[in-house]
C-alpha cells in the first residue's frame, strides 16, 4: 500500500458516503478530489470494487473530465479563461503574462509548488472579461497588475 493512512481514510469516507447513490461515480470522485486534492491512481481499484465497476471504467471517467486530476496540484490553482468573451478583452496577452511570470505552461505547477496553472473555458463572468479563477474565487477585469498581485499573495503565505 502506497497511500498514506490519512489519504486512505479520506478515500474510504468518500466512497462510503456516496456509493449508494444512483450514478455514484462522479459524486465519489468529486468528494475524493475535494478532500485529497487529486484522485490518486492507487484509489481506482477501491472505487471500482465499491461501485461494482471495472477499473477501466473508473479510469475512463477520471480521464474524460477536465476537472479531475491524478497528480497533486500546487497549493493554489489558477485558471485563466480562454473563451471568446475573454479573448475579446485581451485574455491571450494575460495568459502569456501569467506563463512568463510563473515560468510554467498550462497543466504545470511552479517549482515552489505554490501555483498550478490551468486553462478554463468560461467562468460565467463574461460581463467582466478577462476573468480568472484562483481556487474557488473568481476575479473579473483582470489586468496584468491585478494578476501579479494575486500571484504575489499566493506566494507570500509561505515566504
Amino acid at each position: 500500500m502506497t497511500l498514506q493512512d490519512r489519504t486512505r481514510t479520506l478515500i474510504d469516507q468518500a466512497i462510503s458516503s456516496h456509493k449508494d447513490k444512483p450514478g455514484a461515480l462522479l459524486p465519489v470522485l468529486h468528494s475524493i478530489q475535494d478532500s485529497v486534492g487529486h484522485i490518486p491512481p492507487e484509489s481506482v481499484a477501491d472505487i471500482a470494487e465499491a461501485l461494482n465497476l471495472s477499473r477501466a471504467e473508473v479510469h475512463g471517467v477520471i480521464t474524460f473530465y477536465h476537472h479531475f486530476r491524478q497528480t497533486p496540484p500546487g497549493r493554489h490553482t489558477l485558471q485563466i479563461c480562454q473563451a471568446e468573451s475573454c479573448q475579446a478583452m485581451g485574455s491571450e496577452a494575460l495568459t502569456a503574462h501569467a506563463k512568463s511570470l510563473l515560468g510554467v505552461d498550462f497543466h504545470q505547477t511552479t517549482g515552489d509548488q505554490a501555483i498550478s496553472l490551468e486553462p478554463v473555458y468560461c467562468l460565467g463572468n463574461c460581463a467582466c472579461s478577462p476573468a480568472v479563477m484562483l481556487d474557488d474565487d473568481v476575479y473579473g477585469r483582470v489586468s496584468n497588475d491585478k494578476l501579479e498581485s494575486l500571484i504575489a499573495d499566493c506566494r507570500k503565505e509561505i515566504a
Binding site: 444512483p22 450514478g23 455514484a24 461515480l25 462522479l26 459524486p27 470522485l29 468529486h30 461501485l51 471504467e57 475512463g60 471517467v61 474524460f64 473530465y65 477536465h66 476537472h67 479531475f68 473563451a83 471568446e84 468573451s85 475573454c86 479573448q87 475579446a88 478583452m89 478554463v120 473555458y121 468560461c122 467562468l123 460565467g124 463572468n125 463574461c126 460581463a127 467582466c128 472579461s129 476573468a131 479563477m133 474557488d136 474565487d137 473568481v138 476575479y139 473579473g140 477585469r141
Partner: protein, 517 residues
C-alpha cells in the same frame, strides 16, 4: 429602525470585490454605531456598476456604484444608509434606464430578494405557480406550458410543452426531471445569475415539471465552475424541504418531489442532453444516439424531462399568470422573453431581459453602449462557441429564432459577445476548431477527427500555404462535420468557422469578392 443595505453575492459582483465591500460596510457600521441589516442579494445585472450597493428608503431602493472598499467611510459620511448624496449615487434603482426599459419576467426577482430567503420569495409572488399547479391535472399543466409558446432556452428552441407531453404520455414506474445547468457557452451567464440570485424560481419550475408529468425525482446538473451557485442552490433546497415545498408531501398535497444538485466536471459536451444523462449516470459524457429520445428513455432508461435552467425558471410565471400572458410577449414563433447576456468588448455588459424582437443593434449600442475599447464593433458572436459571427451589416436583425436561422445563425442561449476591429477572424475560426477538438467526446468521427484536421487546415490558411486549395478543403470538411456529426458540438462548429470565412474573407487572405470561392 436599522438601515437595510444590499450588497450582491453574485459571482460577478464578488469577482469585482463585493465580498470585501460587504465586510467593510459591516465593520464601518459597527464602528460608527449605525444599526444596519445587510442583505446579500443577487445582481441586478448592470455589471459595469458592480459592486452595486443599494439602500432601502421610503421612496424606494437607491443605488450606489461601483463601490470599492475604500469608498465606504465616505459613503457613511454622506449618510448613504439613509439615501444621502455621494458621487457614486445613481438614484432610484428601478428608474435606471438600463433596467427600466427591460421586460423582466423570468428575472423578476433577481437582485431584489435575498436568494436563500423563502419568505422573501413568497413575499414577491413566489410559489404562486406551484399553488395553482397543485390544483391542476398533469395534462392541464402541460397545456398551459404549451399555450405559452415557451421554447427551450438552452439553444435548441424545441417547444417545451411538446417535450413535456411526450414524458407525460410515456408510461413508467419512475420518471425524472433533469435541469441542464452545465452553462458552458462563452458569453452566457443567465443560468448562473438565476441560480445565485433566485434559486427558488428554478426549484419551483422543476417541482411543477414533476407534478405535470408524474416525476418524483429531479437533478440539477451544475457545472463545477460555479461554486457559489452550488452553495445557494443547496441552501434554497434545504429551506424548501424544511417548509414542505419539496419532499414526500408537498404542501400537504400528498405529491412527492425530491431534488438534488449534482456537480459536473468540466466537460463542455455534457451540456448536450444525452451526454449529460450519461454523466449523471456516472459514466463518461459520451453522446447517445437518438432515438430513443430522453423523453422516452432518458436518465437510467426512464422517461425524463431535460430542460435548461431558463426554460424551467420561466415555468412558474407561466403557471401563475397563464400561458397567454407569457405568449403576449415576443414576435413570430418566438414567444415570451429572452434573458440576453451582453459580453466581451462592450462598455455596458449586463443582463437584458427583453421580449423577442429587439434588434442586435439596440442591444449593442442602446444597452451595450458600443465597444469598451472605443473602437468600432466589427463582429459579434451570438449563441456561444457554436454560434455564427455576424458582421455589422446584420446588426438590424431582430432577436427571433427564425430570423436568425434565415441568416444561418443561431440565438442559442442568448449570449452576445462583441469584438472590436482588432479581432482576427481567421484566428477565431481556428479557435472554434481547436475548442471542438479539446471538447469532443470522441464518439463520432466527423467531430473527433474533423476538428483536429480543421485546426491543421486553418494553420495552413493562416500561414498562406496553398490558400485557395485549403479554403476549399475547409468548406468540404465543414460540410462533413455539419451533416455527419452525432450532436451539435461537431455539427455546429462550422457555424463560427464558415460565418467568419463568409463575412470576413479578407482575414483569410481573400479579397472580399473572392468569398464565393
Amino acid at each position: 429602525m436599522s438601515a437595510r443595505i444590499f450588497v450582491p453575492r453574485d459571482s460577478s459582483a464578488l469577482s469585482l470585490g463585493a465580498g470585501q465591500v460587504a465586510a467593510v460596510i459591516s465593520a464601518e457600521a459597527a464602528r460608527r454605531g449605525v444599526a444596519i441589516e445587510l442583505v446579500r442579494n443577487g445582481s441586478r445585472g448592470l455589471f459595469w456598476l458592480e459592486p452595486l450597493v443599494e439602500v432601502q428608503t421610503a421612496a424606494g431602493r437607491i443605488a450606489y456604484g461601483p463601490v470599492q472598499p475604500e469608498d465606504v467611510p465616505g459613503l457613511f459620511d454622506a449618510g448613504f444608509h439613509t439615501g444621502g448624496d455621494h458621487k457614486l449615487k445613481l438614484g432610484l434603482t428601478e428608474e435606471m434606464p438600463y433596467l427600466k426599459r427591460q421586460e423582466r419576467l423570468t428575472f423578476a426577482r433577481v437582485g431584489i430578494t435575498d436568494p436563500v430567503s423563502l419568505d422573501d420569495y413568497l413575499a414577491y409572488d413566489g410559489y404562486r405557480g406551484l399553488q395553482r399547479a397543485l390544483g391542476l391535472s398533469g395534462a392541464d399543466i402541460v397545456k398551459e406550458v404549451t399555450d405559452s409558446g415557451l421554447r427551450g432556452r438552452g439553444g435548441a428552441a424545441f417547444p417545451t410543452g411538446i417535450k413535456w407531453n411526450t414524458v407525460l404520455n410515456a408510461p413508467a414506474d419512475q420518471k425524472y426531471v433533469v435541469c441542464n445547468a452545465d452553462e458552458g457557452d462563452s458569453g452566457t451567464y443567465s443560468d448562473r445569475m438565476i441560480m445565485e440570485g433566485d434559486p427558488f424560481v428554478l426549484i419551483e419550475g422543476m417541482t411543477i415539471a414533476g407534478l405535470a408529468v408524474g416525476a418524483t425525482r429531479g437533478y440539477i446538473y451544475l457545472r463545477s465552475e460555479y461554486p457559489h451557485a452550488l452553495a445557494v442552490l443547496n441552501g434554497a433546497i434545504d429551506a424548501a424541504v424544511q417548509r414542505n415545498y419539496l419532499g414526500d408531501d408537498i404542501l400537504g398535497s400528498g405529491r412527492t418531489f425530491h431534488l438534488e444538485v449534482r456537480r459536473a466536471a468540466g466537460a463542455y459536451v455534457c451540456g448536450e442532453e444525452t451526454s449529460l444523462l450519461e454523466s449523471l449516470e456516472g459514466k463518461r459524457g459520451i453522446v447517445r444516439f437518438k432515438p430513443p429520445l430522453p423523453a422516452i428513455e432518458g436518465l437510467f432508461g426512464k422517461p425524463t424531462i431535460i430542460n435548461n435552467v431558463i426554460s424551467l425558471a420561466s415555468v412558474p410565471i407561466i403557471l401563475d399568470k397563464g400561458g397567454a400572458y407569457y405568449r403576449d410577449y415576443g414576435m413570430g414563433r418566438s414567444r415570451g422573453t429572452l434573458p440576453i447576456q451582453l459580453a466581451g468588448n462592450l462598455k455596458y455588459c449586463g443582463l437584458v431581459e427583453k421580449a423577442f424582437g429587439v434588434t442586435l443593434r439596440e442591444l449593442l449600442y442602446d444597452y451595450g453602449g458600443g465597444s469598451a475599447s472605443g473602437r468600432p464593433i466589427r463582429a459579434v458572436q451570438v449563441g456561444g462557441p457554436l454560434g455564427a459571427y455576424l458582421p455589422e451589416s446584420q446588426f438590424d436583425t431582430p432577436l427571433d429564432y427564425e430570423a436568425f436561422a434565415a441568416l444561418w445563425a443561431v440565438l442559442g442561449h442568448g449570449g452576445i459577445v462583441a469584438f472590436d476591429d482588432t479581432v482576427d477572424m481567421a484566428k477565431m475560426a481556428r479557435y472554434a476548431m481547436e475548442f471542438c477538438a479539446i471538447e469532443s467526446c470522441g464518439k463520432c468521427t466527423p467531430c473527433r477527427i474533423g476538428s483536429t484536421r480543421g485546426v491543421e487546415v486553418m494553420d495552413k490558411i493562416i500561414n498562406d500555404q496553398e490558400r485557395a486549395a485549403n479554403i476549399a478543403l475547409l468548406r468540404d470538411l465543414s460540410d462533413t462535420m455539419l451533416n455527419g456529426s452525432l450532436c451539435a458540438l461537431g455539427g455546429m462548429t462550422p457555424y463560427p468557422v464558415l460565418s467568419a470565412l463568409n463575412h470576413f474573407p479578407e482575414d483569410f487572405g481573400l479579397q472580399k469578392t473572392e468569398q464565393a470561392a
